[in-house]
């Protein structure tokens, strides 16, 4: 079987002349040439090549469910992660050394992320059968013709389906999700908008890199239209995991309530997100035509944990609702009410 043979070839140490040998050489190199100011296209291509190889390997596994192909995909995923993390680390060090303007760096990052996704889509489309390739071409064309309002509606529809999955994963910890095109990672990332805020509050890039393994950030939870904080927290809190949930309430110096309903209610109350009647009020600073999101981040710095809850709104800067760095008291405003 070709896949098995291919998997066998990739799993053993690559030899000169084999494609994976070239890839390995590329990953081992670190030529941080100063093209385009910060990013080197050579370095980016290395990461994208690793990503392409991983994705192709994963796709083989997905189609065949072959255990050998799975091993190959896992190996390639690790190679990709190494390449990506090395680039990120070099970039952070370079930026700090050269005092790169954060806004300029953000644009470069955005461009990189977009390029990465576009390249992946090309790869995946090339692997589809002819009938689906034609459907994809027509769909892509249709998407590009849609007006912005319709596009936004589509995005909401997809996110609505996708975020429901996140809750499923968190509430079924024993369940093994299918491997995904990335890492089938749990719903905890390594950095966040909240992390960016802490960067702004004085943690150097180097300090952030050192503490990266201790940063736990929930994927932002979108607040549904017309929804209050309690409902949003009821969807968000189950994704934290018991230990992080315990830590959150410990930071607030409140015993962890037994039920999810109580947890969401207590947290909303603590953050002053209830109305005068004690009900979950609509967030006053949320534009109902847009969507907002909560981000909960727990970070350990020098052995000490702190929790931050940020509300991102499309109409203003992120609102820090809670920052336990200086004690358990929530942020009391002023809130952006526009």
């Amino acid at each position: 079987m070709a896949t098995v043979e291919m998997a066998g070839a990739w799993i053993r140490e690559p030899e000169p002349g084999e494609p994976e040998y070239v890839l390995k050489q590329k990953l081992a190199e670190s030529p941080f040439t100063e093209i385009e100011g910060v990013f080197s296209p050579v370095r980016i291509d290395q990461v994208l090549s690793a990503r392409k190889a991983y994705f192709t390997a994963y796709y083989q596994y997905w189609k065949t469910r072959d255990p050998q192909a799975e091993k190959l995909a896992t190996w390639m995923r690790n190679q990709y992660n190494v390449a990506r993390d090395t680039l990120a680390s070099d970039l952070a060090a370079y930026s700090e050394r050269r005092n790169i303007d954060p806004e300029h760096q953000a644009i470069l990052i955005d461009n990189f992320a977009r390029r990465e996704r576009e390249r992946l889509n090309e790869i995946k489309a090339s692997l589809l059968g002819s009938e689906r390739q034609e459907a994809w071409k027509r769909t892509k064309e249709a998407l590009r013709k849609l007006v912005p309002g319709k596009l936004r509606a589509l995005a909401f529809a997809f996110v609505a389906v996708g975020t429901a999955a996140a809750v499923d994963y968190a509430t079924n910890p024993d369940r093994e999700p299918e491997p995904t095109e990335d890492t089938a990672r749990p719903n905890v990332g390594q950095s966040s908008a909240g992390q960016q805020q802490w960067d702004n509050e004085g943690l150097s890039t180097e300090e952030n890199l050192r503490s990266r393994d201790n940063v736990h950030t929930l994927t932002p939870e979108l607040v549904q239209e017309g929804e209050g904080a309690i409902h949003a927290f009821k969807r968000l809190l189950p994704r934290m995991g018991q230990a992080n949930l315990q830590s959150l309430f410990s930071q607030l110096e409140i015993p962890l309530p037994a039920t999810l309903d109580e947890q969401a209610d207590v947290l909303a109350r603590q953050l002053n997100l209830l109305n005068d009647e004690g009900e979950s009020a609509l967030l006053p600073y949320v534009n109902p035509q847009e969507q907002s999101s909560f981000v909960i981040t727990i970070v350990t710095v020098d052995g000490k944990q702190k929790v931050e809850i940020v509300l991102n709104t499309p109409t203003g800067n992120p609102q820090v609702l809670l920052d336990t760095q200086n004690g358990p008291q929530p942020y009391e405003g002023p809130f952006d009410t526009k």
């Binding site: 644009i107 889509n121 489309a125 689906r132 999955a165 499923d168 990335d182 992390q195």
Partner: protein, 88 residues
């Protein structure tokens, strides 16, 4: 507030162009995954529903006809979200 921060999946970005572009990339990626996962006989129907752009119809269609829809779409959203934050 006059200078609204461009957002994508709750992440503040440097420009609204970038946010729009990432949104389109996400839509394309998920559409591609849905096309791959849909039974052949549903492909044309998906194109029609997508072209209409009705949020509720699309959600309902995907939930009804894409096997393991949440497992297909959820990781993609997380992946894109984490990609944008990789260097943050």
């Amino acid at each position: 507030m006059t200078n609204a921060t461009p957002m994508f999946l709750g992440i503040p970005l440097a420009s609204s162009d970038t946010a729009d572009s990432l949104e389109m990339t996400m839509l394309e990626t998920i559409s591609l995954a849905v096309i791959d996962a849909l039974p052949s006989e549903r492909l044309a129907e998906f194109e029609e529903v997508l072209a209409e752009g009705d949020e509720e119809k699309i959600s309902a269609f995907i939930e009804a006809h894409v096997p393991q829809a949440r497992d297909v779409i959820g990781p993609i959203i997380e992946d894109i979200h984490d990609s944008v934050l990789t260097f943050a």
